[in-house]
Each structure stands twice: as structure tokens, then as C-alpha cells.
């Protein structure tokens, strides 16, 4: 090797090179985040302090008055309470069902693989498409009434009933999101080594219930946390199905916060400030529940 000739040509280590590439690679993402997430978030807060009507070109500062009127409008309070009720029902049922589905399908049998693939389909299907199919399922000519008619029950037009419309929406979403969370549980179940089950089996943990109690449930503690959190965040943002199926009705029976926010901007033109304030209140409600969950997890997690 003739090092004299190459001596001066050798490439030097550039200490800043790595950092430069680092900034280069994150720059596009950060730019998009700042422009399309952080800026709207701040903008949203700013708007919430104004009477803001982009269509009538009326803009003036009103402080926290929007928050006041949102909280004191019976409609939003009702919508928030309704969505909380919805969240409690849907999240608890879908979490339990998802866990049960996952355990049922976590066998190395052909039937488990195939049926799990079918059951997952509603989770990937467009919510609007599914909502439209379910308009039929819950209509007076639909599938549910067909089955209940065997028991002599008179047909109910679910989505047109103030009593049944909201439970029907709940049923639809439990139907479609359970498979999604089932997959998360299946991923969790796959991380449990077979040797643990084997050892437990030698220790006499053989029945399904004992296996669930002593192995699956404690070892999937964190998975359950994720499932519950994602479930809550998703449920609180309920919109598509309501908009497509009931449009908040009948007589506000299915009116949820995002319906309120959407309508205030797009139906009753002009209350954008009010919408922004409402969306902030919704955001804090979601954040508050999420953080409460996190605290609960810290206390109970043992893995």
C-alpha cells in the first residue's frame, strides 16, 4: 500500500455528518407535524377564544365565553354524558369479547386460523360501508328482526326508536371493533412462551378458567391496558356511524360531541369558535381519562 500518495486524499471522519443526516431525515416529518398538527392545535385554541364566523367575516375576541356557553348548553353536556355512557358499555363489552375471541382462536388448528381471518374482516372495512349494511341489519326488514320474529317479538325499527337507536349503534361498534382488539390480544398471547404454559400445566393449571386466571390475564395485563385505552380514545370520537345512520337523531337520542362540533361549523354556519371550544373540552375529557388509566396501570402492573 503506497500510503504517501493516498495520505492527503483520505476521507476524514466528519463528526457533524451523522447529525446533519439526522436532521435531514426527520425534517420532512417535523415540518408536516408542525404545520398540520401542532399549528391547528394551537390555532384551535386561539379560535376558541373568538367569536369566529369565517363565512360572515365576523371575528372578535370574547375570551372564555365560548367555553362557558358550550358547558352551559344542555345539548353538549348531554352529548358528552351520552358518549361517556357509550364508552363505558362498549369498551367493557368489547374488551371482554376480544379476549374471549383471542383465546378461542389461539389454537394451532386450521379452523382457528380460517375463522379468525373471517372474523377480522369488519375491523378493516370502511365504517361508512359497514354502517350502511347495518342500516339494513337493524331495519324493520332486517336480520335482527328476522331472528327475533322466531320468538314472536314484533319488529322494531331500531334506528328510529329513541330507546333502541343508541344501543343499536353500540352493538354495531362492538361488532366491528372487537375483532380489531382481538388481534392485539392474539399478538399478546403469542408472546407468552409455550414453556410457561407447560410449566403451569405441570403445576396443575389445566382447566381453561385457571389458565385464564393465573397465566393469560396477569401476563396480558399491559395488553388489556392498551386495548382499554385505544377503546376509550376511539369511542369518545364516535362520529362516522352516527352521521351516516341517524344523524344524531331521533330527537338527539344519538347526539355525540363530534356531531355537536360538526353541526356547529357546517350546519348552523358561524359558530366555529364554539366548535373549537367544544373540541378542546372533548380533548381534555379524553386526556383526563387516559391519564387516569395510566395511573391505575402503574399501581397494578407487575410484569
Amino acid at each position: 500500500m503506497n500510503n504517501t500518495s493516498t495520505k492527503n486524499k483520505r476521507r476524514k471522519i466528519d463528526l457533524k455528518l451523522e447529525a446533519r443526516y439526522g436532521y435531514l431525515l426527520v425534517a420532512p416529518l417535523m415540518a408536516l407535524i408542525v404545520i398540520f398538527t401542532f399549528f391547528p392545535a394551537i390555532y384551535s385554541f386561539a379560535i376558541s377564544l373568538f367569536h369566529y364566523n369565517p363565512f360572515g367575516h365576523q371575528v372578535f375576541f370574547i375570551g372564555l365565553a365560548n367555553y362557558d356557553s358550550v358547558l352551559h348548553s344542555g345539548l353538549f353536556a348531554k352529548a358528552l354524558l351520552d358518549v361517556l355512557y357509550y364508552t363505558v358499555v362498549v369498551v367493557s363489552i368489547q374488551t371482554i369479547l376480544a379476549f374471549m375471541f383471542a383465546i378461542l382462536f389461539n389454537h394451532k388448528m386450521m379452523i382457528s386460523r380460517i375463522s379468525r381471518a373471517f372474523v377480522f374482516i369488519p375491523a378493516i372495512v370502511s365504517s361508512v360501508a359497514l354502517s350502511i349494511i347495518f342500516i339494513w341489519v337493524f331495519s324493520d326488514q332486517g336480520l335482527i328482526n328476522y331472528f327475533t320474529s322466531f320468538f314472536g317479538i314484533k319488529p322494531i325499527n331500531f334506528f328510529f326508536s329513541t330507546t333502541y337507536a343508541f344501543p343499536a349503534i353500540m352493538a354495531l361498534n362492538i361488532f366491528s371493533t372487537t375483532p380489531y382488539f382481538m388481534i392485539i390480544y392474539l399478538a399478546g398471547l403469542q408472546t407468552i412462551p409455550r414453556s410457561v404454559l407447560e410449566a403451569a400445566s405441570l403445576d396443575g393449571v389445566k382447566t381453561g378458567w385457571n389458565r385464564f386466571r393465573y397465566i393469560y390475564a396477569p401476563m396480558l395485563n399491559f395488553t388489556t391496558f392498551i386495548v382499554v385505552i385505544l377503546g376509550i380514545i376511539g369511542s369518545m370520537q364516535l362520529f362516522d356511524q352516527i352521521y351516516v345512520i341517524t344523524d344524531g337523531g331521533p330527537s338527539h337520542a344519538t347526539y355525540v360531541p363530534l356531531m355537536f362540533i360538526y353541526n356547529r361549523t357546517f350546519i348552523y354556519f358561524g359558530d366555529v369558535g364554539l366548535s373549537a371550544a367544544a373540541s378542546f373540552i372533548l380533548f381534555f375529557a379524553i386526556l383526563f381519562i387516559t391519564l387516569m388509566q395510566r395511573r391505575y396501570l402503574k399501581e397494578t402492573r407487575w410484569t
Binding site: 420532512p28 390555532y43 363530534l258
Partner: protein, 307 residues
């Protein structure tokens, strides 16, 4: 030749692959009674989950616009390919259906490619490159996961209004590209790639960007697959943002079309045509699902959502 050829390669691997399957199967065996229960419950669930889609499928081959009671679930009564062709023609000649279909594909392809390109590059930088403020920036990305999109949608809409981007492709696409989850999936995956492979590349003279796109990115194929699938399905099904953003029929994407078609005849839904539209909307999702089924579970494992 210095060492001679290694004939033991195969034998060696075979030994490594020995599994203790027999032992496990004995201990965790599934008895015949339990098998019957598993079969029964599995099939029952499949029936419950498939019935609505089954009816949708039959309705495409029928001529009646009504949903009759009791529901006709016989696959051979009143169905014909001719009915389907009529329904299909009616649907694609409705409004600008081909354009709407194109809009959906166009938006999904651009959002997916943008999100995967931007997310993988950033995920790699967060996983492997050292630079000042890296952790802070990563926390900023994580913070976006805490802000649900519907919550900022009103401000985003006003922002689009200010930019004059209402009913434009860029207004549909750009706000959808940021996906904190994708960044997270990529970062997690890149962290599992052995550092020595990248060191070897460094010794071979590659710069950090070349290491990323010639060495590490090709090794992260499962992460790319998972991110692509999830982003595609999310964008394809997205309803709220297009509903706010698009005020002109020319920019309709399929979820908007579904909603539009539902109400186009007043309160009466033309069920045979409606189900044809629904089915056409589902096709890309189903095709991707059938091709990449295994990545759906993997995606969750990659994002660290596990026990």
C-alpha cells in the same frame, strides 16, 4: 482452495431446527370434546360475522331495490349475473363514479407513499442517528399520538379555508401524511437491526443515508409492510376529513360516495345498487387483506403493543 467446501452445512442446520413439539403437544393436548366446542364456537362466530356481508353479496345479484322481509338468504332465488351487470352499470354510470374511484386510489397511494417515506426516514433517524434534540423531537412525535385528529379537525378545516385548499387534492392528502404510529413502528423495528451490520456498512464506505436506504430499509421489510397496510386502510376508509374538506363532487372519495348514494333517493335506499357500491368500495381492502393477512398481527407486535 483453502478450506474445501463445507458439506456439513445442511446437517448442521437440521440439528438446530429440532423442535420439542411432541412434548408440548402431550402436555397441552386438546381433547376431542374440547375440539368439538372450538369448532362449534368458531363456526358460529364466522356465521354471525359473515351474515351481513353474505346478504350484501346476494343483493348485488338481485333486481329488487327493496329489502324484503323475511330476508331472502337463499343464494339461488332471484339471483343472476345479468342482474349484477345491470346493477354494476347503473352504479358506474352514477355521477362521476370512475372519477370518484380514481380520487380514492390517488389519495390513498399518495398518503401511503408520503407517510411511509417520511415515517421510515424519521424512524431510522430516531433509532440510529445521534443528533442534538433528538429525544425532544421524538417526544413531539409521541405527543401527536395524544392529539386525536377529530379534535383538531375544525381548526384544520379553517386552516385549509385560509389557504384556499378546500376541495383540493393537497388539502385531502397533506394533513393525512403525519402518522406518529408509523414513525413509532419504524423506530422500533430499526432498533432491532444489529448495530454491527451498520458498522460493516460504515467500513464499506457508506454514508448514513446510504446505510439507511441500501442496508437498513431493505432489512425492515415487515415494518414497511405493516405501515403500508395500516395507512392504506386508514386512508381508504377515512370519512370525517374528506367530509369537512371536500365541498365539491369532483373531489369525492368513496366513503363520501357511499354516504351520498345512500341519501340520493330520499329515504328509500336502492339496496341492490347500494350493496354494489359497498362491494366495489371493499374490493381493494379485501385484496390487500387476503394478500398480507399475516402482517396484521405482526404490525401490532412491531409497534410494541404486546404483553
Amino acid at each position: 482452495m483453502m478450506f474445501g467446501n463445507d458439506k456439513r452445512g445442511k446437517l448442521f442446520r437440521k440439528e438446530k431446527g429440532v423442535k420439542k413439539k411432541d412434548v408440548y403437544d402431550m402436555l397441552l393436548s386438546i381433547g376431542p370434546a374440547k375440539k368439538v366446542v372450538i369448532y362449534f364456537l368458531s363456526i358460529l362466530l364466522v356465521i354471525i360475522y359473515m351474515l351481513p356481508f353474505y346478504w350484501m353479496f346476494l343483493k348485488m345479484f338481485r333486481s329488487s331495490i327493496f329489502a324484503h322481509f323475511p330476508p331472502d338468504l337463499n343464494p339461488f332465488s332471484l339471483t343472476s349475473l345479468g342482474n349484477f351487470i345491470v346493477n354494476f352499470r347503473d352504479v358506474i354510470s352514477f355521477g362521476s363514479f370512475p372519477l370518484w374511484y380514481f380520487n380514492s386510489v390517488f389519495v390513498a397511494v399518495l398518503v401511503v407513499s408520503g407517510s411511509v417515506a417520511v415515517g421510515s426516514a424519521a424512524g431510522y433517524a430516531f433509532a440510529r442517528l445521534h443528533f442534538k434534540g433528538r429525544d425532544l423531537l421524538f417526544y413531539a412525535v409521541l405527543a401527536t399520538l395524544m392529539i386525536p385528529f377529530p379534535v383538531i379537525s375544525i381548526a384544520s378545516y379553517i386552516f385549509m379555508l385560509d389557504l384556499g385548499w378546500i376541495s383540493t387534492y393537497q388539502g385531502l392528502i397533506l394533513p393525512e401524511i403525519v402518522s406518529g404510529l408509523n414513525v413509532f413502528i419504524f423506530r422500533q423495528y430499526f432498533m432491532t437491526i444489529p448495530v454491527d451490520v451498520e458498522n460493516a456498512a460504515k467500513l464499506d464506505g457508506l454514508n448514513p443515508f446510504q446505510i439507511f436506504y441500501r442496508i437498513s430499509a431493505p432489512m425492515a421489510r415487515p415494518a414497511f409492510a405493516a405501515a403500508t397496510i395500516y395507512t392504506f386502510i386508514g386512508t381508504w376508509n377515512n370519512f370525517l376529513w374528506p367530509l369537512m374538506e371536500v365541498h365539491s363532487q369532483n373531489l369525492f372519495t368513496l366513503p363520501l360516495v357511499l354516504n351520498f348514494f345512500k341519501g340520493v333517493n330520499g329515504t328509500q335506499i336502492y339496496w341492490n345498487e347500494m350493496m354494489t357500491v359497498v362491494f366495489l368500495t371493499l374490493i381493494p381492502t379485501l385484496v390487500i387483506y387476503i394478500l398480507f393477512e399475516r402482517y396484521f398481527v405482526e404490525g401490532f407486535t412491531l409497534s410494541g403493543v404486546k404483553g
